[in-house]
Symmetry: C2
């Protein structure tokens, strides 16, 4: 059975939440591009799309149906289409291309770990590739229905595995079914006084299993930690058997296998459960915005905060380009822009780099940390813009993907990519990737959104008028330039989007030949026939 | 070339540091055992020991000598003996057994990573097993010269790889040669204003490479983090090639291979470099002792401290048994014991569980954290014993291994083992392991020494009159009971001593069959002939 709300196949979220493209956005882009945006082309409807017939054999269909029940094996166009792609830019292009869409031959909805094991056994016997499917929000091709040499492929949708399996309050450990989505998980925890504190931009649709499989960071990772840092136990069902790792605070018993589960991207098996560190639900949540004189000043100040233990839970520092577009898109241009400039000038500043801080926790501890942090920031030239601008960001924190859809309908390519590096290398990497992208797009912006003792993430957004003749080639060229620049300038190929299909060719630059071989050996051990998510990660 | 100070083969450290067995210790043990300790049997001298002739072929000797230089290939009795064993109780017994000691056929001292690579190539070609050797402080058989089916085995002593390779101050990353020992490493860092904050009991002799290979914790791990948490980059030289992992704050590029290097125990390759998070050298170091009403009250209070972010850098809570022996060994019995009891009674307390707290950092932040922590502890019934008792612990923090040697000379078995579990399971595990050991030893004590959000470590010490007829069988029986109890009660088989030889049979209980197979696959990929540290870990 599908969950109550499935995302539309043609874009982000459900239609009702999509909103509209604001006039501010259109006018800023038209000015930047020096040309009007194209007329809107509506995304295709379900009936417009072409899909091959399911290749699942009768025998396999019967076996799978007997295993999970007929209602939990779907081969209809709707189910297959929704599971045909993730939400990367190439996925959105494919849906709009008019070409025949590759789709899984069936969608299987297991009830529990034992169902997953049985399905994997059938797929092993019948030679069927398996794509584990959580929220379907991958932006790197992570759920593409690739067959890997097999005749058929199924999407294994984990939406029925969505229990809060255990809540160990004294140990601060929550154990969750892999298919739990963000809002439902937070609802279950908040009702008991806790939070996971994990809020990726995909929060509304992505799942616990997907977060672990892709080493998700979350917008509040600076405070609550990344998902791989919070993972204390896991179950991963693989064709060769189950990895069942008990929740443990620490161990010296050889290499930590939790680190093989985190980042396994469905290629080593199916994550069915995860035990994660949880936190008390915050007493206070306080967002605010400040203007920093420059991105470099912001980065240096954030380094100080992090290394002095003063960081807020959410930290987001936009560079000058992203600050400009952010203000413009929010309608802070024209008269409002002049007011802002006047305000900043009156305090000895100017529009520079916008900083969003989000404080979450017990009120006493926040007050103290915040006072100390603001003192550091003000010494670095910060000018407070108040809580309103901070709340505005928090309100729209999950909405950017909708904007991307609207822009695509108006012939605008919007894409993002992300990396991380040490503090000492941050500026070099920022410039290297920015320069590479500038050759492909009239707008390139960047922000820092995750702080670590030793470094930070960089998240780039680039926007260009779409090349209608070959939009995929246009994207590929920009993506390739950016990835090459990331490697050349010492960044990691992905900080939180994962490898999927798009970054596969760069894994060797990341891990070396011996490292990739070691991972392949792990895969061959857990998945000897190569059923699991072929063509991804390795 | 050997380092300036090599440990004596017959016990811990160098003779000059060994001190003497105090009368307090002797009298307490004789009272507990109800019998006088045996007369001292001095450990054997170098010339007493029997050693087989080196099995290294002339051809291999010539090749290795040409590779590292004749001065860096040693086959003399002294070098072979010092590398013949670690410092576990079975190792100490073997040295004293009068039986022929297995020893490596040669000791090779590479100068750098390129030497290591060349040596591994020669060993691959000639069929020679390789035991990477750092400080030789393993207490689980990690450096035993096992041949794994090969005719000969060398110890690869990394003491020449002891550079501070890079210090990235703005990123708080230090990159160290694997052979750097604790004191030298700290000296290099302190001279520049930093500390690694890593102080295992073996600190004086153990090395960076060994810490990473065994996922060492360190007595200050509660504050500074475990070595595996601090590892941001590494180089591991394996027969199939090098794993060269750049220092990165975070990544989502598939499974984190740093987690294969940490805990690799020489079985996957030779760690040659490690990049680790460093911290500013503390402005203030403040140790103190408190008496808690009971071990359970201490555990519960420490859970509160840790989950409220108030933990000191060093936390050590002894149970009632360890408290009793600790006070007795320090001479706080008899008249002094009565004084202590009177002091405690006057404050409404009694001897219970001794708590040692060590605060390290900037003075302002410590004062505040300490005040809040002491308030929590006092609510839980803590009575302050002052800084003197804390300093006394800090002064003797690396000296317990010497005591073990002295006791062994007097016919007393002393052994330690350690585990960890979630807070909610801590008491159950404590009782289960304690009961198992009580069947083997008249004294069993325990302390908590590492706090985590989700749980804590338990470190057991047991002491018994040695069974002179078969001391190894006596040890094996106790060890077996304790390990079985750890597994049965949900603990990890080792929190910071590693797997080595002694815990190998329990790896399957830890990782499951599929997990062990996956690790074996990694080994087969990196070390196809199985040269590397055979018989350990896997």
């Amino acid at each position: 059975m599908a969950p109550s709300t499935e995302m539309r196949f043609s874009g982000w979220g459900v239609e009702a939440d999509a909103g509209e493209l604001s006039g501010h956005v259109i006018s800023w882009l038209e000015q930047r591009f020096g040309a009007p945006l194209a007329a809107r082309v509506a995304p295709p409807e379900l009936d417009d799309l072409r899909l091959s017939a399911s290749q699942l054999s009768k025998r396999a269909t019967a076996k799978l149906s007997a295993c999970v029940g007929a209602a939990n094996l779907r081969t209809d166009r709707g189910a297959r289409l929704i599971h045909a792609a993730g939400k990367g830019y190439p996925d959105l292009l494919a849906v709009r291309s008019g070409k025949r869409l590759p789709a899984p031959d069936a969608v299987v909805y297991p009830a529990d770990e034992s169902d997953v094991r049985a399905v994997l056994k059938i797929c092993g016997g019948q030679g069927i590739a398996v794509v584990p499917f959580g929220g379907g929000t991958s932006v790197v091709g992570g759920v593409a229905p690739l067959r890997g040499g097999f005749d058929s492929v199924i999407a294994l949708d984990l939406c029925r595995l969505r229990k809060l399996i255990d809540l160990d309050q004294s140990s601060r450990i929550g154990t969750f079914g892999a298919g739990l989505r963000g809002p439902e998980l937070e609802h279950l925890l908040r009702a008991r006084g806790y939070t996971l504190g994990h809020f990726p931009q995909s929060f509304e649709y992505s799942t616990v299993g997907g977060w672990v499989a892709t080493r998700s960071a979350g917008q509040a990772s600076t405070g609550y930690g990344r998902i791989d840092e919070k993972l204390v136990g896991a179950r991963l069902s693989s064709p060769a058997g189950e990895l069942k790792l008990a929740a443990r605070p620490a161990s010296a018993a050889g290499p930590d296998l939790r680190a093989l589960v985190a980042g396994s991207e469905g290629a080593l098996g199916v994550i069915t459960e995860a035990s994660l560190e949880i936190s008390p639900a915050p007493e206070v949540t306080r967002y605010e915005a400040l203007m920093m004189p420059s991105f470099e000043a912001a980065a240096e100040a954030l380094r100080t905060l992090e290394q002095q233990g003063l960081s807020p839970e959410v930290t987001r520092a936009s560079d000058e380009h992203e600050t400009e577009i952010g203000l413009a898109f929010a309608g802070v241009d024209g008269v409002k822009g002049k007011l802002l400039n006047g305000y900043l000038r009156g305090r000895g500043g100017a529009p520079g780099a916008l900083l969003i801080l989000g404080w979450e926790g017990a009120s006493g501890s926040i007050d103290q940390r915040r006072r100390a942090a603001l003192s550091v920031l003000k010494d670095a030239g910060a000018i407070g813009l108040g809580a309103g601008a901070g709340r505005a960001w928090a309100k729209s924190r999950f909405s950017t993907p909708y904007l991307r859809d609207h822009l695509l309908e108006r012939g605008v390519m919007v894409e993002t990519l992300e990396t991380s590096t040490s503090w000492s290398n941050l500026t070099r990497l920022y410039r290297g990737v920015g320069d590479a992208l500038a050759a492909h797009a009239p707008f390139v912006g960047c922000h820092i959104s995750h702080l670590y003792l030793t470094g930070a993430s960089l998240y780039f957004t680039f926007i260009a008028p779409q090349d209608r003749a070959d939009p995929l080639a246009q994207w590929k060229a920009a993506k390739r330039s950016a990835c090459d620049a990331i490697i050349a300038h010492g960044g990691t190929i992905t900080h939180h989007h994962a490898i999927g299909v798009d970054h596969r060719r760069y894994l060797k630059a990341e891990d070396g030949a011996a490292g990739v071989d070691a991972l392949r050996a792990v895969k061959a051990s857990l998945d000897p026939r190569g059923l699991m998510n072929p063509g991804k990660l390795l």
